[in-house]
């Protein structure tokens, strides 16, 4: 099969060719000229998978837990796609992606596909690229897709919006009770896993989470996108505490203890979303957010392309030297473009 064309790649991917799948993901990541046609061709084939986000601070054992969850799904003959995200070094632009080390039990299983992703550019861009890669794995027919994200506040929230079920992993003794509140990850959790439950202090972590949960959750949160804070509404289904209370599951990922209970909780949440209409709601919410983001990027690109370079440069100078404020400057620029 010809893996250099959109139709060749699409056909091979849909036929289960893993090399084609890997290549398509690279096209998306590298934003090549094939990326958009591939997304367009595969989008209609997606929408079947249940998407699970696994997030939490570094050192809580996310990768090992993902390994344990995936094994249980494999025992139930469900195929699993995994996206493991690690940060790009801001200094070299390189990245060290080490999550596979903890997932070696899954190596060689044809029902599992693991892809490591580096955060590369901006957070907003990462969220979009992740959503696109999730869609590709979905189209490739994986039953469950697990996205493991770096444990740093803002990106968590954005990537979580691509998942139907978000598992927030905590561990005793990391001061995470406080970290979680700071990062705003409590609001996005559908399930809590308190990992390393064989360690001292596990009850204290569980108690702290229970207390936080009893304080309730807000109806919206703020997301940074291209340097702007956007309010994102939390679906009613997620807000309604009586409808779904995030369970707290104690796990020991290294031994697999609690992993079955965690998978049960994920599946319960999946059923809950399907029966309550929450899945549809999340799909619509995500479509709205996605459309807004893409539209904004598109309009920005198009507008910038229409403004003469020297005009833009002059305006930048004027704003920098306080001759004009940035809001008025933008209005002038946009009016200029609209005239053309």
């Amino acid at each position: 099969m010809d893996l250099s064309t959109v139709s060749g790649l699409t056909e091979a991917l849909l036929a289960g060719d893993r090399r084609a799948l890997a290549r398509v993901i690279s096209h998306i990541e590298n934003n090549t000229e094939l990326a958009r046609p591939l997304l367009a061709a595969l989008y209609p084939k997606s929408g079947r998978a249940h998407i699970i986000g696994v997030t939490g601070s570094p050192g809580t054992g996310k990768s090992t837990l993902v390994n344990a969850i995936a094994q249980i799904y494999r025992g139930r003959e469900l195929s699993v796609g995994i996206i493991a995200i690690d940060p790009t070094s801001p200094f070299s632009g390189g990245a060290l992606l080490g999550d596979r080390v903890r997932m070696r039990d899954l190596a060689g299983d044809p029902g599992v596909f693991i892809r490591s992703m580096a955060t590369r550019g901006s957070l907003g861009g990462l969220a979009q690229a992740t959503a696109d890669v999730i869609m590709i794995l979905d189209a490739a027919g994986f039953d469950r897709i697990i996205v493991e994200t770096v444990g740093v506040g803002q990106s968590e929230v954005e990537i979580a919006s691509a998942a139907y079920t978000t598992v927030v992993v905590e561990a005793p003794g990391l001061g995470d009770e406080v970290q979680a509140i700071k990062a705003g990850v409590l609001e996005i959790a559908d399930i809590f896993a308190v990992n390393k439950a064989d360690r001292e202090g596990v009850e204290r972590t569980v108690m702290a989470l229970k207390m936080m949960l009893s304080l309730g959750v807000p109806d919206r949160f703020q997301v940074m996108h291209h340097g702007r804070m956007l309010p994102v509404e939390i679906p009613q289904a997620r807000r309604d505490a009586s409808a779904w209370t995030p369970p707290i599951i104690k796990t020991v990922a290294t031994s697999g203890q609690g992993a079955t209970e965690l998978v049960e909780a994920i599946e319960n949440h999946r059923l809950y979303l399907e029966q309550s209409g929450g899945r549809l709601l999340r799909d619509r919410l995500r479509a709205a957010t996605e459309l807004r983001m893409i539209l904004r990027d598109y309009l920005l690109e198009r507008t910038l392309a229409q403004i003469p370079q020297e005009k833009l440069q002059r305006t930048i100078e004027d704003v920098a030297s306080r001759k004009i404020d940035p809001y008025s400057a933008v209005r002038h620029l946009v009016n200029e473009v609209a005239k053309v």
Partner: protein, 134 residues
């Protein structure tokens, strides 16, 4: 377009000593590559499968056990089986000088012993990838 070179660093065979591999992985990250580190005791099948899923440009094998003449051809075979003939393969570790020509003959792009400068490895990678692109 934001093309990043992706490198898989793997340790085939049974020796459980991966400090060298980790140092190389970090050095290659600092050179701007996306490095996927898979850990110790990898079979040739596991390495080739990971290379496929991660769609890497380069596979770096760290071998200290002396089993390189047995392991390297098996890894190359598994890569070929998956249609990954164009992946650049490098070998590092304790490799006797007399084995180097044979490894290069098999299709390995470079062999690096202890004390190799990162810049040498990077140069080999760039050259190998450049040649392939041309």
């Amino acid at each position: 377009m934001d093309r990043k070179v992706r490198v898989l660093v793997a340790k085939p065979g049974l020796d459980g000593h991966d400090r060298g591999a980790k140092v190389i992985a970090r050095a290659l990250r600092d050179a701007g590559y996306e490095v996927i580190y898979t850990g110790i005791r990898q079979t040739p099948e596991m390495i080739a499968e990971a290379a496929l899923q991660e769609d890497v440009d380069v596979v770096g094998l760290s071998i200290l056990s002396g089993a390189h003449m047995a392991l390297v051809p098996r890894v190359l075979d598994e890569l070929k089986k998956r249609g990954l003939d164009d992946v650049v393969v490098l070998v590092g570790g304790i490799i006797p000088d007399e084995d180097v020509p044979a490894l290069l003959d098999m299709g390995v792009a470079g062999v690096f012993g202890p004390g190799t400068l990162t810049s040498e490895i990077v140069e080999t990678i760039e050259k190998a990838l450049g040649r392939e692109l041309a």
